[in-house]
């Protein structure tokens, strides 16, 4: 394994984890969406680098999807939704930012311990990337559970999915990566369209997911 290739891949994957942390402490929606766009750019760079060092041209397609769809189209659409609904105000968080960050650090440590221990047989590049990918997935999940607003939940879901694409691109020679990233893009497009459907003011109030709890048990 070429030393430089390894270090660059390592750095790009670590950038994703770092940006996941940056997402965790964003307390305003527009800033959160911008951070997510950066996240998608970092993913595109990372996947393109994997395509280059693995000599797997199909991964360039995945990188292009990440760049164009998740880096540009979705953020622009989300910005429009946020502007239309006039929800530039602060994001409500379930627990404080400090506590969320601490939990995030614990999750990263957990994923390092678990993945590095179980992948001793795998090649070092895939090992690192899988560990980072799991960290990104868990941080995305944390973002989803610590926010109540639907838009930030979607951002959390998408950064979780970025982690999955990172893992899939790091698994050498994995088939169906492009197909899976397309399938995910469809899923995300539907989620965003779903938010558009909720756009009507009074409906959007219920997209504050806490209101869903009202219906958990019974209806009036």
């Amino acid at each position: 394994m070429d030393r430089l290739a390894f270090e660059v891949a390592h750095m790009l994957a670590a950038t994703l984890v770092l940006l996941s942390f940056v997402q965790l402490y964003q307390d305003r929606l527009p800033a959160l969406i911008n951070t997510f766009a950066l996240h998608a750019f970092a993913l595109a760079a990372s996947v393109a680098w994997q395509a280059y060092i693995q000599e797997a041209p199909h991964l360039y397609v995945t990188a292009a999807i990440a760049l164009a769809f998740k880096g540009l189209i979705v953020p622009v659409a989300l910005h429009r939704i946020v502007r239309r609904l006039g929800i530039h105000r602060e994001i409500e968080t379930v627990v404080g930012i400090g506590l969320t960050m601490l939990v995030g650090i614990a999750l990263v440590a957990l994923s390092m311990i678990v993945m590095l221990r179980v992948t001793t047989g795998a090649d070092p590049l895939a090992r690192q990337d899988l560990a980072f990918a799991l960290a990104v997935v868990l941080l995305g999940l944390l973002l989803m559970v610590s926010r109540r607003n639907a838009v930030s939940q979607v951002v959390g879901f998408m950064s979780m999915e970025n982690g999955l694409v990172l893992a899939a691109s790091a698994a050498q020679g994995m088939p169906l990566v492009v197909e899976i990233s397309i399938a995910f893009s469809i899923l995300i497009a539907l989620i965003v369209i779903g938010i558009f459907l909720f756009r009507i003011r009074e409906r959007f109030d219920t997209v504050d997911v806490q209101a869903l709890d009202l219906h958990r048990g019974e209806r009036g």
């Binding site: 678990v114 179980v118 047989g121 879901f157 979780m160 999955l164 994995m174 409906r203 869903l212 209806r219």
Partner: protein
């Protein structure tokens, strides 16, 4: 793809897909619903003809073996009867103005697409393809749960969407890890995701990686099975969508997710160093059973009530397959078939009940056997069956499971029996209010077709007293495969 089995297998996939494409462009809804019924029937016929092929046989992407053929035939059968039920039910929704013809066209097309996706998940020989198929199935059901566009329906669809997507994402991570485990042994490329290849080589995989992979797969597909504590989407999705979709969700989609879990369980069983997945399934199954049994008492919406009952029964199945061994696996398979038939029958009845009473609240419904004898007694038989009373089919499977568990793990058997009894009490309590006593709610008639309802109940009743010998032999064999 080798020719001898290729044809019926491809038909099982191509028929619903072609029907979905056709239905999307058909403006006449009466004709559309008839076409949907015909397509479902032909799919069922194609599925049944799979029995005549050599088993097991597999290509690069598709696979038929003794295990999935049971699922496919059950899937296409219930899909067929539900399409018959849909035709009448959805027509009534149109008459009352809850749906417009445009939505109806969408509904039938989506229904066939869902059948296609479920069949694809069942016959997929590639774990990546299986994942994609389950994702498509999730998306189509999300769209149908939200079809009424009411406040509650949109909320239920949204919740299902978010939780389902998280589950799907976790399952994908598990799938990638399985590939990582296979890659050093099988080599890079598509072969390392082909199930039949994986099973052959699994003994040489890294057990630690397989363990972690299974945890993710259990969480991911377990969400789709509706196992506690990942069940939160299930009651809402059942209660707010159209009733035929509730029937298909409970009767089929949960099974498909369980099938995915079983495949990976079989994979892990082939590796001596990997954890035994059984105890994990037993724990989650018992938790689902006991939790749902107690939750049944607090329901006041009739569809939500039966949704919790589905969680309970999926728990029993997970428990049975987790216990493993020929007898428990046999009970699990039988229970799955009986539950699919009974629960979809109950939802057929509940759908009509909600239409004549114009309400889903238990408090608004009463004395059904007096006002609507056919409907009321159909519901009574269904609930008696689902509660596990003899001589109906579910009694058989629960009895087998309980007795085999008592012989091996008496303490677990006690918990199992306790859970079943708690649920039994809730079911009979609610049934009493729904079916007997002072009639409450509307007495309107609607033209209903009871054929699907009573066909299912008849099958369940027959299975309770007599199982054909070839079927028993088949299940015995599959139970052996499951390990």
């Amino acid at each position: 793809m080798n020719a001898p089995f290729g044809n019926p297998l491809l038909l099982v996939l191509a028929l619903p897909l072609a029907a979905a494409a056709l239905l999307a462009f058909l403006p006449d809804y009466r004709f559309a619903s008839r076409l949907s019924v015909v397509a479902s029937f032909l799919t069922l016929a194609a599925a049944a003809s799979l029995f005549a092929t050599d088993l097991p046989s597999h290509g690069a992407y598709l696979l038929v073996d003794e295990l999935n053929i049971v699922f496919i035939v059950l899937n296409t059968f219930v899909a067929f009867t539900t399409s018959v039920f849909s035709a009448g039910y959805i027509g009534h929704e149109l008459a009352t103005g809850r749906l417009t013809p445009a939505y109806l066209r969408f509904y039938h097309a989506m229904y066939q697409l869902l059948v296609f996706a479920m069949n694809l998940a069942l016959v997929a020989n590639n774990i990546g393809l299986m994942w994609v198929a389950i994702e498509i199935a999730t998306l189509t059901t999300v769209l149908m749960v939200g079809i009424y566009r009411t406040h509650e329906a949109l909320e239920a669809a949204w919740k299902y969407f978010i939780l389902g997507s998280v589950g799907i994402a976790l399952a994908l991570f598990g799938t990638i890890l399985v590939y990582m485990a296979a890659q050093p042994v099988v080599g890079e490329g598509a072969d390392a995701m082909v199930w039949s290849v994986l099973v052959k080589h699994v003994a040489a995989f890294d057990p630690a990686l397989l363990n972690v992979a299974f945890v993710f797969l259990l969480l991911g597909y377990g969400t789709k099975v509706g196992l506690v504590p990942l069940h939160a989407w299930l009651p809402d999705a059942h209660a707010e969508g159209p009733t035929p979709i509730s029937a298909v969700l409970s009767g089929l989609l949960l099974n498909v997710a369980l099938y995915a879990l079983l495949r990976f369980k079989m994979l892990l069983a082939g590796n001596a160093g990997a954890i035994a997945p059984g105890p994990l399934l037993v724990a989650m199954g018992l938790a689902s059973l006991v939790f749902a049994a107690f939750m049944l008492y607090r329901r006041s919406d009739v569809k939500r009530f039966f949704a919790y009952s589905s969680i309970e029964h999926m728990g029993i199945m997970a428990f049975a397959f987790g216990m493993g061994g020929p007898l428990a696996n046999f009970a699990g398979l039988l229970h799955m078939v009986m539950h699919s038939l009974t629960k979809s029958a109950i939802f057929y009845a509940v759908g009509y009940v909600a239409q004549v009473k114009k309400s889903q609240k238990i408090a608004d419904i009463g004395g059904l056997t007096a006002t609507h004898p056919w409907l009321g007694w159909g519901l009574v038989i269904g609930v008696v069956a689902i509660a596990g009373l003899p001589p109906l089919g579910i009694f058989m499977s629960e009895f087998l499971l309980v007795s085999s568990t008592f012989a091996r793990e008496p303490w677990l058997a006690l918990l199992l029996v306790a859970g079943i009894l708690v649920a039994f009490g809730a079911l009979l309590l609610r049934l009493n209010g729904l079916a007997f006593g002072e009639p409450r709610g509307g007495v309107a008639r609607s033209e209903m077709s009871f054929a699907p309802l009573y066909a299912h109940l008849a099958l369940v009743a027959i299975a309770g007293v007599w199982l054909p010998a070839p079927l028993v032999a088949w299940f015995d064999y599959v139970a052996g495969l499951l390990g």
